[in-house]
Subunit: 350 residues, 4 copies
């Protein structure tokens, strides 16, 4: 931490800062410049927070230097992690394709969508039973009935289930059915929910808040990790910007930035980032090429009748193009596909 | 609603859209342009949502024309509303000054802060017992113990209490102590929480999501209203932009924009918007002048030791300047101050 | 300046940084932390820039501590400046109301608009002869013919003229007619133009780039100042954000932020910030209350036929409301109006 | 165009709009809804702009439906264009790698950088002689002397030169030396400069304004095209967002969005988008995979001494990784590399 004094700060102001820092066991290094003095702090950063240094007389600003997250940081955990979802890996050695309908609408629609996804190479199925919607008048999901459908489709297809939980009170029931709990973009700062999924004993798919900085996103992961759960997969899904031609702006740079600072796997959701099905295939290719550990996309057997986000659901030619990209690009870039790894793991663990 | 067809759309595509619209009882008016055809839709907008028009062949885009909110709209409720908080009005005929510590830390700190606030003219006290913090390592609030302190300080000062609730599971206990429930900026899209406070039978202070559009903010209010609670006060508290010199950017225009489209009262939080105490007084003046129905600010008897947001808490000279602005400016702009109205109300209801 | 080393930086890396800093006459203070080392730099900041410190091995980041602007900074010029425009002051002791049509369309339209403006209390007239337009198919202004109209209307009304210049090649001709040269939001980083107006010998009205940080805006002013011209008035006119209900988001906080760091006067343009005439009066009131040194607004005798930005031009009742606010609010806040000062100045200099 | 009336609009208001539209030869289709009336306009959109429809009584809003650009639109020019730069193609059938130093500092530094670039597979060299800098105290480029160096290095290496022009007055001299004129991000709305390069008879590399929407970017291209020059290559280089970990946020989606609406080639600048050399290789891979027609990157023989943007310049291992990606990925995605095409073209035209 670095404390920057105002040009008007007195020697007494400087001494006061030093004294405060030393009172909690820290060390303070004073650099007197021509115009300003800066003070470098060494010691336990958490103890410094309690000092409220920015409120002291003569203090212009306080800069944090180290990352505020610990458990999810790559600093003390240099190897990138792999998260296993009912036997399917998500991590640096594989490329995982997750797909399914945005919302679970009926047993048939869900089964058809997941079979399409599986045929295209998906190894994890997605589907929403609890839908956070901007309008209270929009379809809010089937709730537990939707979870039952997901379980039945898992039975039929063999694909593990990732599904969103939007309320801490629903975590137990969702955890009972799902193989991975998804935290959606609107709940990225819902700390009670983050803590609840941290205690649920299931892997978590943590979407980036559409207006969260990467640091805030990693702090959200830290909330989960702090409850003892490090099986977290991060998911970049677009941020809010001024550009109106896409629903959000996919921050593709976030993938290598996260991989440089955290050991957690990171995947990309091109469907929700763009909101346009004509962009899902090129953005998926970009995600693979930038080094993402997977993608998650919307598919629907009949987008015209979808109750949620129909315009971004893939089918037919686009899904085939995506299947081809997922099959061919990762190996060209030195990755194997997750289904192969899953088979190996299954064989090994058998 | 207006459906815009692509230049390549066929007559059959157009007929398909018309047919879909008519199938749910709507009317479709077709305007064939030189390059494109547009179709105006008349009827029940909610029934059109289910049609997934954006997914139909030949459809380029669908523009919504009407506001998506209803209960909070000014359209069928042209008079602006007043919300009463334990006898203190917030609305178009008054100007309400709410103040108190960001976080409840101890009985003494809270009492001192609220006494400062009251002496400066505040008629509603604020104070946080449950604190949503970006870092899991930061102070998270005293919980129910904090609520007890708030109740004791209300007893001592006579000021009604507004306090934040961050988890739907805490709504009953918070509603038991508080006179007004606050939804913070990070929970602006926590729909389960919005519904829970909608059912709690207490007035709600709904802060704008730091990345919510005004329309999304009003949709959040609609979630509360839909559960039967229209005692909602909106609070503009800054939005996230690229400008780094303030914590967020106070969107002062949001006040008249909201007042033009919704009947709900709207106040301003200059402390959290700016994160800088030197800006609280000028921004409060701006809020009064733009026509806000109140302000809510942080005060602390000793910002240097504050456990939360010390750098933005007022004291001494700044608080006196604010008190003066709150006393003098609203009457200069044709408003009376809320404490006078509260007294009148008390006299009337006595 | 503070250099932050990576956790992996070696002693040799640290020594290399120190040596570089000392090679240009600076001093380096090393603070070794548990995880990282930080190095405080003291000396001539410009000489440090040439060192490319961020490229040295072991360097994680470099934080600038001081403001990068000098001539426009309040640090060595603590008194806030007043800029005189043909005898009309813009500065801390007055409140200046500038108004006129967005674009000069004809002698009659301009004269009528300026007479409306003058009747409402305006003491400086605005009007565009060169219009920067997003579309090459939109009206681009009358050019020199427009400047002649402005000069004639100044003759008729006695109001000094501020008008925009969009191309460095036009600076001489615009400076020949205008009393103040305006740099528009789209040219806030057109450094050649900034330098050209810096040499033109006329006061400058520098609008903030719609996507410029306050620091970048002050650096643009520094470009002008560096050419020997400190008669610069800054104008906040809204920044680009995600909020769609206004054309841009008026950053009202920018006014006190600028006043704290620069000695230059700062005014507000509520017309272009919002793009909505129903917001011009409340935002002007907010500008006065927050402490701005003036406002500049669009008026038009017949907005329905305006060739540019008709929807934001005031007339009738709104203009009267604005006139009243400009007359009454500044004195209530301790300011006199600029026309009074202009008269005094005229009397004094006579 | 669609005109949306307010709920309070009268029949006379509606008739007034219709009459106005018909007065300029347009047709108006009225759709009366339960709450609002909407009016679809058919005819010449430019004639409608002059009507100022948003200012008419009873008008709530006016939505434009068609794209405002024409010459650069794909609508009447469905095949994507190839731009030839001194015999090197940039377009849909090739992938073009442009590289060189951010700034021309000396003959030797430029030659070394370009030789590095050429060895890595670059077929067009970049280098700045005129540098737009936020600070007037930063290195501003060597000017014409820099252009001479670029010409000499072209002589030595055979690579065509792209270089930035920042002032309309410099266009003739830059066009005399350069093979392609670059418009930088800060000049994306400098309309006089856009028109000047439109008349210079050389291909143009048009960077996106860091805060321009895609539509505004294409309108900037329209300014150039309108002067008779359609040899324009668009360059996505990151937009300004709230995320601080990269200098700007690369809007990778802009590539397919532009390709869907414009026939112009579009390339990506990962160096300036991110400002971090560790991101240049992954972002270049993403650019190739998303379908960009090329990349442009900074290289420097000694980033530690670079006068501009040293921290983002590649060398050594990173440049080799980039060279490999440029060689292997485009063919894997069905593209040939531009140098091969250039050779073919040379052979054909010989």
């Amino acid at each position: 931490m670095v404390v920057v004094m105002t040009p008007e700060a007195t020697d007494a102001d400087i001494a006061h800062v030093v004294e405060k820092v030393e009172s909690v066991g820290g060390e303070a290094f004073v650099s007197k410049g021509v115009v300003r003095t800066i003070i470098g702090l060494v010691g336990d950063i958490d103890s410094f927070h309690g000092l409220n240094l920015r409120s002291l007389p003569g203090v212009a600003n306080v800069h944090r230097i180290s990352d505020p997250y610990k458990l999810v940081s790559r600093q003390h955990h240099p190897d990138r992690s792999t998260v296993w979802v009912r036997g399917v890996p998500v991590g640096p050695d594989s490329f995982t394709f997750m797909a399914g309908p945005c919302a679970v609408e009926s047993p048939q629609q869900t089964l058809e969508a997941v079979e399409m996804a599986k045929a295209a190479g998906a190894t994890i199925m997605r589907g929403g039973a609890y839908k956070p919607r901007t309008s209270p008048y929009a379809f809010q999901g089937l709730g537990e009935k939707g979870l039952e459908i997901l379980a039945a489709v898992r039975e039929a297809t063999g694909l593990p289930v990732v599904t969103e939980v939007v309320d801490a009170r629903d975590v137990p029931v969702v955890a009972q059915y799902a193989d991975m709990l998804q935290i959606g973009t609107r709940n990225a700062a819902n700390f009670g929910l983050l803590q609840a999924v941290g205690e649920a004993g299931k892997p978590v798919l943590l979407k980036r808040g559409m207006t969260a900085t990467i640091e805030e996103w990693l702090m959200a992961a830290e909330y989960i990790a702090q409850r003892g759960n490090l099986d977290i997969v991060l998911c970049e899904r677009g941020i809010r910007t001024f550009e109106p031609s896409t629903r959000n702006t996919l921050d593709i740079s976030a993938v290598p930035v996260v991989q440089a600072t955290s050991h957690l796997p990171v995947i990309v959701d091109p469907s929700h980032a763009s909101g346009r099905k004509d962009l899902v295939v090129p953005l998926s290719r970009a995600a693979i090429a930038v080094g993402a550990d997977g993608v998650i996309v919307d598919v629907h057997p009949d987008p015209e009748t979808a109750l949620c986000d129909g315009p971004q659901a893939l089918l037919g030619a686009e899904l085939r193009a995506l299947a081809q990209a997922v099959r061919q690009l990762p190996p060209a870039l030195g990755r194997v596909d997750a289904s192969a790894l899953a088979r190996t793991e299954a064989a090994t663990s058998a």
